[in-house]
Amino acid sequence: MKHVRNFSIVAHIDHGKSTLADRLIQHAGLVSERDFHDQLLDNMDIERERGITIKSQTVCLPYKSKSGIDYMLDLIDTPGHVDFSYEVSRALASCEGVLLLIDAAQGVEAQTHANLYAALEQDLTIVPVINKIDLPTANIDLTKKQMELELGLDPDDAILCSAKEGEGIEDILEAIVHRIPPPGGDPDKPLTALIFDAQYDPFRGAVISCRLFDGSVKAGDSVRLISTDTVYAVEELGIFQMNREKRKSLSAGDVGYLIAGIKTVSDTRIGDTIVMADDSTAIPLPGFKDVKPVVFSSIYPIDRDDNASLADALERYRLNDAALVFQRDSSVALGHGFRCGFLGLLHLEIFQERLEREFGQSIIMTSPSVRYTFELKSGETITIDNPEFYPDPTTIEQSMEPYIRANILIPERYMGPVMKLCLDRRGVNPHFSYPTRGRIEVIVELPLAEVIYDFYDRLKTITQGYGSFDYELIEDRKSDLVKLDLLVNGERVDALSTIVFKDRSRARAVQICERLKEEIPRQMFKIAIQGAIGGRIIARSTITARRKDVTAKCYGGDITRKRKLLEKQARGKKRMKMVGQVMIPQSAFVSVLKTKDE
């Protein structure tokens, strides 16, 4: 009989999830003091900088309980953003319980709710942990009261801890052992395992993270991935410690990894079920979704000669990011590039940052778009995700755009401004419910195009961080759409075109012209920026010419300083794109969709 517990830590951002994970790892003796650093599970620079988890990690913690029994505690880390909510749900499906972490100074917050519901949906045992009790501003009593009133949890169940000081860690480990049920399942039944993640290893290909529900698997077995119906021979399997630890076999209840000669992570599907190759009657585990990109953007190398190197970088990037899709694309203004699809905006931003940092690519990214459908008078239906392919308007019978159902959880006091935001973004059919006192859940249908850029940012600003947001795609709906073109000194810049809702096209055009005016630096000549629909100018802004750019003094022999400044500016220029005579900075292309803070 094995003593295993599978759990995850969930928390509102900044409530100390990574610190607690670090502490548990340290307690288990998996890292030496010397190798210890903060955010052990977040390997990417960008994760540490942003304090978020992008790629989840799993680690198996050996623990000897107070009653003297040796346990293996599988900590399954989860990515922390709405773009990855599907991945989070699959990770939680692999657990029997969660530690619900609450900051003693901040109390219950939006994501505390969202996380609790996500865990309850999977029928998991909740272990509430009140963290940061060492802070002078900690208010344990109030936090407990909130737990009871807002979350409906028994405050007596809460464990007090300070992950920073290492207080309460033993109590948490004991609670994991005693409160979270051991995994069920029968090792003698046919194999059923859930893929909840996959990482890329340059030498081994895809390394699948999976949870076995029934049966067992060993090296040499032939396994089948149900959704892709592909068969692979298991080369190696084992459990996660700080590194991979090879084992002979895995069986029901275990969480571990599997290497089976799968070349890239795109050949695996998160949420898919692994069964034995000869088991033709196996039923897939519930909850599988084929995740499709919903946000599209084109990328171009800043230097046109770098196209081949960008293509190579994308291929390498995709090895570890199954959700990224891309194909070749070209623009008159920007040359040859790629059209890419993403799960959401954070996914897009992370992609852009990693591509630049880890792959050394200097790119220009166009403003993101959703996928539009047009029914033409000819009876034909076309789908486009790039404004460039907007059909001749006289041929359009009707146009459609994707809608989402947004689930917004906010403290009651923000109701007014949040409703205004939703209506400004063409929200329809709002429904309200009151999950706990003082909180409102707003369910509203919105065009996806209205939320892809800065909706979440705006929501967070309006609600001072207390608003949580989740969404699901519902359907394409009829919508009156037009293509808005942008002209810079009379030249149409195809990469700046967007598809907009007709009734708001003028307001959008004005807004974009003003935005571009801020983004494009003043140059030696006047620059006219115009917004046009079908050749008709509907908005305009002007960037006045610079009148001088000269340093009066240049002697004393210190020419080095001057040249270095010039070299720095020349590097900056590389990040600009020349459109005709006008230098347009990279940021301008994405700024088009940003709205101003009202």
Binding site: R546, K548, D549, T551, A552, G557, T560, R563, E567
Partner: protein, 372 residues
């Protein structure tokens, strides 16, 4: 015009007080002057292997005119014993109006100084005190008279304009008063406030404002027109001379990429393709030389590309411009040339790309067009 012999610069790092706009290195610890002079000799000797003959000597600062006649004469005498100066070498000293006496000028003359650069800056007392200058406008006018009477036939005047509290008309008044003396050389510097100056601090504290771009541009163009019609050549962004023979031959070496040796704290030297610069503080400077070491603060070896970039950035600041052979291999040269000509920023004359007056106003932007 070619003057391949290198130039020698001596930095006198002392001032009685610090001007509000000045970003050059100087110290007000005048008691260190003799130590510095001793170290300067050491430094001159250490460099006598790489440099031997100079075509110009420029003694700048700081405030060279606060050196006594005796110290000054001994310093130049020593330099002459270590190095050779070509016959007819231009020897310049920067002076402050309130330091000028007939005796001082006489001694300068005896040591071979043949060019005086006078820091007038303004002829308005209120503006002079705003700038933090020690002298009054009457001192400057008197100095100009005395210099003239002492028989110097190559005199430069430094002026500053385009700062808060100076109207267009008061600037033009300063200019026309100076023009009554017809100095051989006039430098007119548009005020640019550097972060590490007293003015820099005052701007960030909101105590003073920078003059708007439009007014500065208007003053710049007026200045060029006024001086041109008085017979001056606008030969560099901020420099005017009464004919080709009165350009600053020393400064032109910097702009033409000729080698130069700089002695004294913070001075820069250039011996193609290497450039190096001295430590800034007088104490460090003296200590290092006391240990028999060159007071090196830093150095770099320029690649061919960097040398070329420098000669473009320097050339676009002068009437001599840049040899188009140097530019032809730059990406999109044809297109850039076309837009420069269309925008009246530069023109090709005799195989060189020469900035126009409007081009001078964009002297920091134009070189960037050729960088890849």
């Amino acid at each position: 015009m070619n003057e391949p012999s290198p130039g020698l610069y001596v930095h006198v790092p002392f001032c009685k007080s610090k001007c509000n706009y000045c970003g050059f290195y100087s110290s007000t610890g005048l008691e260190a002057i003799d130590d510095w002079l001793g170290s300067l000799r050491e430094e001159a000797a250490l460099n006598s292997v790489e440099f031997e003959t100079f075509g110009t000597l420029y003694i700048g600062g700081g405030t060279p005119s606060l050196l006594s006649e005796r110290r000054f004469a001994k310093m130049v005498e020593y330099l002459r014993s270590v190095y050779r100066f070509l016959p007819g070498a231009e020897i310049t000293i920067e002076v402050n109006p309130d330091d000028i006496t007939p005796n001082k000028l006489k001694s300068y003359k005896e040591t071979g100084v043949n060019r005086i650069s006078l820091g007038v800056q303004s002829l308005n007392d209120r503006q002079l005190s705003f700038l933090g200058r020690r002298h009054r406008s009457a001192d400057a006018l008197r100095a100009l008279d005395v210099i003239h009477e002492s028989g110097f036939s190559n005199v430069g005047v430094d002026l500053i304009y385009g700062f808060e509290g100076q109207s267009a008309s008061s600037w033009k008044k300063t200019l026309s008063s100076i023009l009554e003396f017809m100095p051989e050389h006039i430098s007119c510097y548009l005020m640019s406030i550097e972060p590490c100056t007293r003015f820099g601090g005052m701007v960030s504290d909101g105590l003073i404002k920078e003059t708007g771009e439009d007014l500065q541009v208007e003053l710049y163009i007026d200045t060029s027109e006024i001086l041109s019609s008085a017979g001056y050549i606008h030969y560099e962004v901020s420099n005017f001379s009464l004919g080709d023979e009165f350009v600053s031959r020393h400064n032109s070496k910097y702009w033409r990429h000729v080698d130069y040796l700089g002695l004294g704290p913070s001075a820069h030297s250039f011996l193609k393709p290497r450039r190096w610069w001295n430590v800034r503080s007088v104490d460090d400077y003296c200590r290092m030389l006391g240990d028999g070491k060159k007071p090196l603060g830093g150095q770099e070896v320029l690649s061919d590309r960097q040398l070329e970039n420098e000669s473009i950035l320097l050339g676009m600041r002068t009437r001599e411009g840049v040899d188009i052979e140097q530019l032809r291999n730059r990406p999109e040269w044809e297109r850039i040339l076309e837009s420069l000509e269309r925008g009246s920023l530069a023109e090709v004359v005799g195989g060189r790309l020469i900035p126009t007056l409007k081009g001078y106003l964009f002297a920091d932007s134009l070189p960037l067009l050729f960088m890849d």
